[in-house]
Amino acid sequence: MAGIALTPSGDFRESYRDDTTIFPTKVSRAVAVGSVALLCLAPLTGDRYLLSLMIQAGYLGIAALGLNILVGFTGQISIGHAAFFGVGAFSSAFLVDKGVPVFFSIPLAGLMTTAVGMVFGLPAARLKGLYLAIATLAAQFIIEDFFARARWFTGGVAGQVTKPFSLFGFSFDTNETYFYVVLAYVVVMFLFAANLMRTRDGRALVAVRDHYLSAEMMGINLTYYRTLSFGISSFYAGIGGALYAHYLLFVSVEAFNIVFSIQFLAMIIIGGLGSVMGSMMGAVFMVLLPEVVQTAVDILSGSAIDRALGLAGAISFIREMAIGAAIVLFLIFEPDGLAHRWRQIKAYWKLYPFSH
C-alpha cells in the first residue's frame, strides 16, 4: 500500500500509457538521470577501493536482476545461478581466447549462457516450485563438474586468463575506466528489465507467478513463458559473469560453487523479490556485508571476545554465517526486502510531520 501513498497529488493517470510508465513524474525521471550522472563522477573521487566495490555491486546486481526475473517475477526458484554466471565468465574468456574482441564477446557470452540455460530450462517447462529448485541444484553440480573437466573450454583446474575490455584501441583496464563499462551495462540491463515488466510478456510472467492456472486459462502459454523467463535469467547471469571475467582478467574453476548461488538468492531476498531496484540494493548489501564483518572483527580485535573465539582466523566462516543469518532474519522479519523498507521510508518523509 506504500505505493499508493507515494503517488503525488495531481498525478491522475488518464491512459494505460500513463499507468505503465517507468517514471511517473518529472521529478522521478530527473532523480534517476541525476543519480546516473552522479555515478559517472564517482571515478573522480580517486578511491580505487570504493570503485572496486561499486564494480562488484554492478556485475553482481545484473546477475541478481536476472535471478529476480526468474524468482521474483515468474515464481520459479533456481539454486544454480552461480553456475550460469560461471558459464558466462568462461564463455567470454573462451571467445576472447579464440580471437573475438571483448566488445562482442560479452553479449555473445550472454547468448551462449542463454543456450545452456535453455537446456536446463527444458525440465523447467514442466516443473515448478520445489521440483525446479531440485533440478537447478542438480544443474549446479553438473555444470560445476563440467567446468573442472572441460579443459578446452575452461582451462581445467589451472583456470582461464583473459584480456581487458577495449574499444578502438583504448583499453579499459583500470578500476576508473572499467567502472564506466559496468555502469553502461547496468543502465542498459536495468532499463531493459523495467521495460520488460511493462510489456505483454512481462505481465504474462507475473500472471504465471500469481496464479498459473488462471494464467493458462487466459491464454498464456505456461511452457513458453517459463522457458522464456529461464532464458532471460540465464542471459543476465551470462552478462554479469562476462563482466566479472573481464574485470578480474582470470576465471578460476572453483569460484562458481553452491555458496555463490546461495549468495545470489540472498541478494534478491534481501533486496526484495519482484523488485527491479531491489536486486541492486541486495547486491550492494551483499558486497558490503563482508566489509561490515571485517570492520566488526577489526574493532573487536584484541578484546576478550576476540581472544575467546579466535575471530581473526575465522573471518571467512563468519562471513558465510552472516550470509546465512541475513537470509533467515530477512525472511522472518522483512520478507519484502529492502525495496519495501525504502518505499516506506520515502512515504514517511513525504508526509513528514503528519504521517500516520
Binding site: 516443473l127 563438474d145 540472498a266 558465510e320 550470509i323 543469518a325 525472511l331 522472518i332
Partner: protein, 297 residues
C-alpha cells in the same frame, strides 16, 4: 571385467545406500508432516556428529553416554529450529520456506567449520576393527554395524507409523491438517515432533558415518545426496525414500566402477546421481511411489 571389484562396490553401495535411506526417511518425515523441504538435512548429520565427537574427546565420556546426550541435544535442537525459525513462516510461499532452510544450512555449516575446523577428525576407537568374510568378500565389522543400525532405524520408523499413537497422528496431519485438528491432534506439536525426530535420526546417521569415516564438513553433502534419493522414490513416500537411498548408493558405486574401468571421465561417483535426478524429473517427476498431484481450481 573385474567382477570381484564390482561385487565389492555394490556391497559398499548397499551399506552407504542404507544410510542415505535413513537420512532420506527423516527428510520425508519433515516433508510429509509440515510440507517443508529441508535443505538443512545434511547439517543435522553434521551437528550431531560433531556434538558427539566433542563430548567423547573433550570429556572422555564412554560412547553410549555421549551418544545419549547427543540425541537429547538434537531433540532440543530440532524443536528450537522448528519453533523459532520455521513456525513464523507457516503459510508463506514455498520459495521463502526453501530459502530459510538454505539459510540455516549455510549458517550451521560455517558455524561448525569455525568451531571444529575444516579437517576431518577420527572418532576415538569404539569398536575393534575386524574383518568379516561374507561370500568371499572382506567387509569391515563397522560397516556391518552401520547396516544393522540403518535396518533397525527403518524398522523403528515402520513401527512408529503403523502402531504408535504419535505416528498415526502424524500421518493424519499429513493427510489433512484441518481434519486432524478437528480430531484433537495438535498440529503444532506434530510439526515440532517431526523436526525433533528427524534431527535425532539424522544425527544417528551422522554419528555412524563419523565412526566409520571420521567427522568432517563433507557430512553435510549427505543432505544434498538426499535429493536424488527422495525424487527417485517420490517425495512423500517413506518406503520410496529407503528404496531411493539404496538405489542411489549402489548407483554411485557402480558408476564409479564403470568410470574407472572404461570411461575415465573422473568424478562420476559424485555426479552420476544428479544426472539420474534430471532424467527422473523429466520423465516421472513424482517418482516411483509418490502421490501424483491432481490440481483443481
Amino acid at each position: 571385467m573385474n567382477w570381484e571389484l564390482l561385487f565389492q562396490l555394490t556391497l559398499n553401495g548397499l551399506i552407504v545406500g542404507a544410510l542415505y535411506g535413513v537420512v532420506a526417511m527423516s527428510f520425508v518425515l519433515i516433508y510429509k508432516a509440515s510440507q517443508v523441504v529441508n535443505f538443512a538435512q545434511g547439517e543435522f548429520l553434521l551437528v550431531g556428529a560433531w556434538a558427539c565427537w566433542w563430548l567423547l574427546t573433550t570429556f572422555q565420556m564412554p560412547f553410549f553416554l555421549g551418544f545419549l546426550i547427543t540425541l537429547a541435544f538434537m531433540t532440543i535442537f530440532g524443536l528450537v529450529l522448528q519453533v523459532v525459525v520455521l513456525r513464523p513462516l507457516i503459510g508463506e510461499p514455498v520459495i521463502s520456506v526453501i530459502m530459510v532452510t538454505i539459510g540455516l544450512s549455510i549458517f550451521f555449516q560455517a558455524l561448525m567449520k569455525w568451531m571444529f575446523g575444516v579437517f576431518a577428525q577420527p572418532f576415538p576407537q569404539i569398536f575393534a576393527t575386524e574383518r568379516v568374510n561374507i561370500a568371499g568378500l572382506e567387509v569391515q565389522s563397522v560397516y556391518l554395524l552401520s547396516l544393522a543400525i540403518s535396518v533397525l532405524i527403518m524398522a523403528g520408523f515402520g513401527w512408529f507409523f503403523t502402531v504408535s499413537k504419535h505416528g498415526l497422528a502424524m500421518r493424519a496431519t499429513a493427510f489433512d491438517q484441518q481434519v486432524a485438528q478437528s480430531l484433537g491432534i495438535s498440529v503444532r506439536q506434530v510439526f515440532a515432533m517431526s523436526w525433533a525426530i528427524s534431527a535425532v535420526v539424522s544425527a544417528v546417521a551422522g554419528v555412524v558415518v563419523g565412526v566409520v569415516n571420521g567427522v568432517s564438513s563433507a557430512l553435510s553433502f549427505y543432505g544434498i545426496k538426499v535429493f536424488p534419493a527422495v525424487i527417485l522414490g517420490g517425495l512423500d513416500s517413506v518406503v520410496g525414500a529407503v528404496l531411493g537411498g539404496l538405489i542411489v548408493g549402489v548407483l554411485e558405486n557402480v558408476a564409479h566402477f564403470f568410470d574407472s574401468e572404461f570411461l575415465n571421465w573422473g568424478n562420476m561417483f559424485q555426479i552420476a546421481p544428479f544426472y539420474v535426478l534430471i532424467i527422473i524429473l523429466m520423465i516421472k517427476p513424482y517418482g516411483l511411489f509418490g502421490t501424483k498431484n491432481i490440481e483443481r481450481v
